[in-house]
Amino acid sequence: MAHVTSRRGLLFGTAAVSAGALLAGCTSNESSEEPAANDQPAADDKPGKEVTIGFAGPQADHGWLNAINENAKSRAEKYEDVTLEITEGSNDTAQQIGQIETLINKKVDVLVILPADGKALTQVGLKAMRAGIPVVNLDRIFNSPQAYRCWIGGDNYGMGLNAGHYIGEKLKDKPNARVIELAGVDSLELTRQRTQGFDDALKNYPNIKKVARQAADFTVESGQAKMAQLLQAQSKFDALWNHDDDQGVGALRAIEQAGRDDFLMVGGAGALSAFQAIKKDDGVLKATVLYPPTMAASAIDLARALGQGKGVGGLAEFEIPASLTLYSAVVDKDNVDQYMSTGFK
């Protein structure tokens, strides 16, 4: 976990504080129909220098990734001075490299890149930077800080940590509490980070024990299948953390099919269906930990600021920060209304 802690170290230095402040600006509280397309000014709401932003992301085959695209698009539309060059999403590394190289050749002013695979796309990030095009690296981080001007992304470790703390607080008075975890795609580093954060948080509560963990693969189908098995394996437990609200649809289905309601469930990511269930409060799902897709809108703000050579509002700095880690807020019944508009389908 060395890499995680080192990054967290960096964050705790300055960025964590500023990120919170910035986010307050980026993801507004005012509800609007479009997720995150809010009216809050970012760098400078007044039209400034024309900026062409190239955006390259993976294939939007998943609710969260789809929300990323929509956030980026609607945010860019809001600015008269921003032209967004968006590529066809691709999960193929070679194809994505080609798309980004095309954007470099088109001489866009700023690049926003959500790589299919951060490590594999480092070289093309470096290439863009050398060509004088600042890169905003979204979420999946490049291998080298030289490959981006600014990184903005979610906090997988923090997600697990906050989920663990939320569950810990709920169960702290319960002796011999049992917790299970439904993880995401196990071959992804982010899944390992989420699990590590979750485990680290639970260490603070000696009365709680994690008794089982199974990995699904972010799909409804796998969520249902794995959850059904977990329910059969654990006839009694007190809380469940599910990494991903998409697979959570399946997990909830399995819970319903098994007729179980004797535990509390915490989700992850922040899907609209999860928010609605939390608001209704008639099932096991009591909270979800954010991994906000609004980061794409923020990335557009950052890119625009970079293109216009400005800083961001709410900070004293002349330059925008090199790294921004978003806070994985816990959304429960008390604050769900505030986040409802950011929920993705």
Binding site: D217, V220, E221, A233, V249, R253
Partner: protein
């Protein structure tokens, strides 16, 4: 050799063992050696499951769970088995399941309720099968390529329809299918569908002209053609059948997961092929059994279940799955070589 005079016509159409000459029984026995070895593997798994997690594994609910989880891929595998026996391959099954499941769960389709969803899932499956079949039988395309193209386009279309979003099913009739109230004599409706597809598949393969033609086309397409069988039409029907199975499986998956998602049916093609192969179906065609394939599916599902109940992680599960495939095929090669 003893000669048996077969009865002129047995009224039931059921061949009694006594009327079967010894050589046929030897053939039957060899088929059974394979089936028995699979049953042996399954029995061994049940023992392992029973020892490691007796309370959770040996439980009616768990049996219901395993069979339910096996139903979706099981129905797909029955169709796949026919295709492989005919000497073909269908790589598009997972993608067809995905497309059928999202098409059947769009807001527009859901307005037509239970029947609308069922109808759409089946029609989309059959439609994709039709395209596969026409391309292969009449377009002269290699099954591998034609169904690979279908895989790509059906997945793409599924993504286009959903826009990457999860489509939640709100039709109660569908959602209630997996409720315990809907169980018939303790058997979940999904499992009943799986059982029906298996039995019909077995009967069609072993007792009908369609099944015979399938085996003949797979065993020797040229000989089948010269014997007067319409090989191309048979191939078309086979991919239609596989598409139909995918449509049914998509409907089961909709009921099970309560939703439609473009990621549904992920890697079904490999799971179905693997189950058919460990079930004794020749990848080159001409031989295979429905029972073997279904046992293959049950073995895989049981392994997954045992691993989950023992809280073993997916890396270990995948290694074990690979090892089982290799072991099963090796065992079968041994039994096949000692009996011929």
């Amino acid at each position: 050799m003893t000669q048996h005079v077969s009865p002129p016509r047995s009224g039931t159409g059921k061949a009694t063992p006594a009327s079967e000459p010894p050589a046929w029984r030897a053939l039957l026995f060899r088929a059974d050696v394979r089936t028995f070895s699979l049953l042996g593997v399954l029995a061994a798994l049940i023992v392992i499951g029973g020892i490691t997690r007796p309370d959770q594994f040996l439980d009616t609910r768990n049996l219901q769970l395993v069979l339910t989880q096996a139903s979706v891929i099981g129905v797909v595998t029955v169709g796949m088995t026919f295709v492989i026996i005919s000497g073909g391959i269908d790589l598009s099954v997972g993608a067809i399941v995905a497309l059928a499941s999202v098409w059947a769960t769009t807001v527009a389709t859901q307005e037509y309720g239970f029947a609308g969803i069922l109808f759409t899932a089946v029609i989309v499956g059959v439609g994709c099968g039709l395209v596969n079949g026409v391309l292969i039988a009449y377009g002269g395309m290699v099954p591998f390529i034609a169904t690979l193209a279908m895989l790509a386009s059906a997945r793409g279309l599924a993504l286009l329809i959903t826009d990457g979003k999860t489509q939640i099913v709100t039709v109660d009739g569908i959602l209630n299918l997996t409720e315990r109230d809907a169980y018939v004599l303790g058997i979940p409706p999904l499992v009943l569908v799986f059982a029906a597809v298996t039995i019909i598949g077995w009967l069609v393969l072993n007792r009908t002209t369609f099944g015979r033609r399938t085996v003949a086309v797979g065993g020797n397409a040229e000989a089948a053609r010269l014997a007067g069988i319409d090989v191309r039409r048979q191939r078309l029907y086979l991919y239609l059948l596989s598409g139909l199975c995918c449509g049914i499986a998509a409907f089961l998956l909709i009921a099970l997961s309560g939703s439609g998602q473009n990621t549904n049916g992920n890697l079904y093609e490999l799971d179905a092929i693997a189950a058919a192969i460990i079930g004794g179906t020749l990848l080159s065609g001409g031989r295979g059994t429905i029972i073997g394939s279904v046992l293959g599916v049950l073995i895989f599902t049981t392994i997954t279940n045992i691993f989950a109940l023992n809280n073993l992680q997916s890396d270990v599960q995948q290694i074990a799955k690979g090892a089982i495939i290799v072991a099963a095929v090796l065992v079968q090669r041994r039994t096949a070589s000692t009996t011929t």
